[in-house]
Amino acid sequence: MSGPLLLGVRHHGPGSARAVRRALEAAGPAAVLVEGPPEADALVELAADDDMRPPVALLAHVVDEPGKSAFWPFAEFSPEWVAIDWALRHGVPVRFIDLPAAHTLAMRARPPRPGRTDPIGALAEVAGYDDPERWWEDVVEHREGEAFTALGEAMAALREAHEAHEAHQAHETQEAHKACETHKACEIQECPGDSVDPDTGWNAVDDHDLVREAYMRLQVRAARREFGDDVAVVCGAWHVPALRRRTTVAADRALLKGLPKAKVDMTWVPWTHRRLARAGGYGAGIESPGWYRHLFEVPDRPVERWLTKVAGLLREEGRIVSSAHVIEAVRLADTLAALRGRPLAGLGETTDAVRAVLCEGSDVPLALIHDRLVVGDVLGEVPEAAPAVPLQRDLSRTQRSLRLKPAALEKELDLDLRGDTDAARSRLLHRLRLLGVHWGEPADSARGSTGTFRETWRLRWEPELSVRVAEAGVWGTTVLGAATARAESDAVAAEALTDVTALAERCLLAGLPDALPTVMRVLADRAALDADVGHLAQALPALVRSLRYGDVRGTDTGALAEVAAGLAERVFVGLPPACAGLDADAATQMRGHVDAVHAAVALLEETGLRERWRTVLRSLAVREGTAGEVRGRCARLLLDEGELADDETARLMGLALSPGTPPAEAAAWIEGFVGGGSGGGLLLVHDERLLALVDGWLMEVSPDAFTDVLPLLRRTFSAYDAGVRRTLGELVRRGPAASGAATALTGIPHGFAEELNPARADAVVPVVRMLLGAGAGAGAGAGVAA
């Protein structure tokens, strides 16, 4: 062999992977060089470990700053992975030849990512494809033959064009500069040329690539010295011409001179298909890892097998899909491919076929197929021997700085959140809980303190928590980053509205301001789509609570307040229709919702909302068709708010208890108005007019109906304190007319003599002293409500 075997691939392309395997089998090189950080050379043996299951990623991070990191993901269909796997199986040495992560990370450049300059896109455009992925599929992935040589040549042509383009650009820049000089007002900084070219998306300054390629060339040279010419290089197709180019060692060294360097640690971390699919951040930007994996795995007939898989999934989900369906889908996909002039049906054709034949034109099951199959739920595994993940290091560091040692022995920890250290400890524990690392569990305070600035935790470090930390490593490299990512993901996956509000609360507790926008967005979306006012009403109190709690912690809660206000608005709109046509149980539940919303609205800052809430209450209180219990409750809330004049209250009650109302409905109204622990009994004791109304109504209830309403009334009145009940009884026995007359005549309330009786007065003094706290006052219940 005359030189190294250059295998230009598309990262994560299954067709490339197969071609690489075939080429390696055929050539049997003495060493395999792979595009990747050389720091990983020491870890490459782990790839052959039995417990290693792709997708996995090489993770490099700066030792002191775990947040600064880069990933090199590998799926089982990645050509690089296939090359590594082949080499380890055949006992052939593997070297990574890309620029060391030490430089990459120190340069603060983004991690090397394929497709930054989009050569494939350009080639596809030339070939008349609107979608580069499809072009690649047709030319390489679906082709069994040798494509490396042709591809290398195409890339060389492209790079020439690219460099010419750059030269042209430079020329234009000079022109532009000249223009700038003539127009003095124009600012030099805004000259084109040193930014991304909008036409092609190519970064006009590709210094980073040049440096990387210089390093790769040096590495290839070194390998050839060590293993002879018989080495194979697996790298992105874009780099092939550069590696073939003849340059001097000195020139390459010159390019590498003076690169900044950082101390870097490297390890393997488990990866997921979803992360491969994610375009931004650390994702590899492959839209269909599940489909690629399928292409790579199946021995033959990929379309037939894929559609059978889809049919299986749809059957699991309870859709009726017969083999005849699958047959028709295969035919449609094949014919579509022919119509579109493609050699083999690709993902686009199969998806269209699935939609038309298996899903009856609907996109809903299609979304499921995309999620489960096209992307897929594959989670990689990494052997235990892999070095610790940076998350673990970050955790250890935080534990040290917060003086919070992990210990197997259970211990209770009291935190005073006003102190910085304690607040940080609390945040750490909350974040870990979000990540599924249950080191601390919130406990009831031993001191019985219930202040919002106190927290009590029960700490216990179990050995398996280390495993949990390692697992949580997929979420990020720092506890903060990981918890944020996890919270965001949880929010999107959450099913019930209340889950999301609870999550919002936890985000505040854990101090994750960056996760809040996502959580809030999800919350707003869920609230908008939830048609059950009950859910909304349940969610509101938790949200308002977090709002107030956030205030205590000094978090910015603007977004939260906005969402809370929006939620309240929706409740206001939805509540009146939801209160109509309820049975007794539902009405009781709804009364609870009304109470909860009332309490929550009172805590909200925006006073306009309170005004609107009163309007809602008012309309509910008088609306026909609204459940009696809810109506009564609304009237009562309005009365407590001072919104109802006394006459008005009496009028409402009179209406509700008039003979035209069915007795059960009236009894429910009474329950709503004075029932429960709301101090309704005292209201009746003090407002004799209301009592008279109730009394009068009760007298008029027919015997049959009386039996019906008795249980409800008993429930209402039996909840009162014995004293209240007795007073009520006495008042009723005396009759409303008599008491009214007595009060009117003398101005002295019933039950009091005209003159003071000192002996009896002295007897109550100790009780009054106790109530006022002058005596041994603790524990005296303040049972008197307004």
């Binding site: 009726i320 017969s322 005849a324 369906h325 028709e328 035919r331 449609l332 014919t335 579509l336 119509l339 579109r340 686009g348 269209d352 076929a353 939609r355 038309a356 034949v357 899903c359 009856e360 034109g361 609907s362 996109d363 967005r521 707003a524 979306d525 908008a528 789509l529 048609a531 929006g566 608005e569 929706r570 709109v573 939805g574 229709p577």
Partner: protein
């Protein structure tokens, strides 16, 4: 068959007549393989519908403006001799597409069965000429073939409009035709076998599908293509204003100078409620039970125009369209009213420049 009076243009010519030039040009240039009895290759059929320029410079006008994928799947379905079901809300050009498909594939779009609640089995199978039947007894001469029977015998494309309006038992007669590709004539002890090239395009409304839902046995015989609503606000505003202008002219309403803003507003409201999300993609909203198709937007605007002309100052104002929108949105008085009010409070109230509209809507909904 079509009765055409010489020298007198039909009010609406059939697709194969109106676009005869384009079809001829395509047929002349088309060198790709054609399925049996197809006038054009699948590729040429797709080009006919989507428009394009032929190598010799003939410009083919687009018949359907929408995703390419949809036309490709539809044409391919016909090529695999599976029946095609076009689904969509009213006003999404289902009939239009089916007519042009039939015209391009078979050169004849007139083999049509219009589905109604009263469509009898004879309309799908065959009927009898009773005079003949009584005079000569049952024979092929006394038989009156349905358009579908003729399509089967001649290898043409048949069309069934509004499939879901046809009673379920009559729908079921299609099952044999589509699966066995044969139509038995029990009275004569004969059958008509479909020759190659026969296929069927059905259209159905997927919104009020409650009419006569397809049985799964029948559904299985179709490949389904859903025709979507216009993709962008601009496209829809364009369609609505063009159509409103046409309607307005026929009703002799004066042209409105400043109507585009209101039209855009109506279209925006309809789209947002239909899609369940605001155009900026930031707020989700509930969708009402009505269809809110482009056709309905057109009718709301036309209504508003009439209002403003006869009762207003001749300018299209928010108050002119508010009542129409309310009527279109609130179909189910209980559930839709909540949807509408939520939308008003959560979206319309906050939006810049929509104050008048908000007020007008509050007035009519109160």
């Amino acid at each position: 068959m079509t009765v055409s009076i010489e020298d007198q243009a039909a009010l609406r010519p059939h697709a194969e007549n109106a676009f005869a030039d384009e079809l001829a040009a395509l047929a002349a240039q088309d060198d790709r393989p054609r399925p049996a009895r197809w006038r054009l290759s699948p590729w040429a059929v797709a080009t006919y519908l989507l428009g394009g320029t032929l190598p010799d410079g003939t410009v083919i006008s687009p018949k359907y403006v929408g995703p390419r994928r949809i036309v490709e799947v539809a044409v391919t379905t016909l090529a695999t001799d599976r029946a095609l079901l076009l689904l969509g809300v009213p006003g999404t050009a289902k009939t239009w597409v089916s007519e042009h498909l039939a015209a391009a594939v078979s050169g004849d779009s007139t083999l049509l069965v219009q589905g109604t609640a009263g469509t009898p089995e004879e309309a799908i199978r065959y009927g009898w000429n009773y005079a003949q039947l009584l005079a000569h007894g049952p024979s092929r001469n006394a038989l009156v073939p349905s358009p579908i029977m003729r399509a089967m015998a001649e290898g043409m494309t048949a069309r069934v409009e509004e499939l879901t309006r046809i009673p379920a038992d009559v729908q079921d007669t299609l099952i044999t035709i589509l699966s066995e590709k044969t139509l038995p004539i029990a009275e004569l002890g004969e059958e008509v076998q479909a020759v190659r090239g026969f296929n069927l395009i059905a259209t159905a409304n997927d919104r009020d599908r409650g009419v006569n839902d397809l049985s799964s046995a029948l559904r299985r015989r179709f490949n389904t293509v859903v025709l979507p609503l216009p993709e962008s606000v601009e496209a829809e505003v364009d369609i609505v204003s063009r159509r409103v202008e046409q309607v307005g002219r026929s009703l002799e309403l004066p042209a409105v100078p400043d109507g585009v803003d209101e039209i855009r507003r109506v279209v925006t409201v309809f789209r947002e409620l239909r899609d369940g999300v605001t155009t900026d993609g930031r707020t989700k909203v509930k969708s009402p039970s009505g269809t809110l198709s482009t056709a309905e937007a057109i009718s709301v605007v036309t209504n508003g125009l009439a209002l403003s002309t006869h009762f207003g100052d001749g300018m299209l104002r928010p108050s002119d369209v508010a009542a129409g929108i309310l009527g279109a949105v609130v179909r189910d008085p209980a559930a839709d009213r909540v949807v509408w009010q939520e939308y008003l409070e959560a979206v319309v109230r906050e939006r810049d420049g929509w104050k008048d509209f908000y007020r007008a809507c509050r007035e009519v909904s109160a």
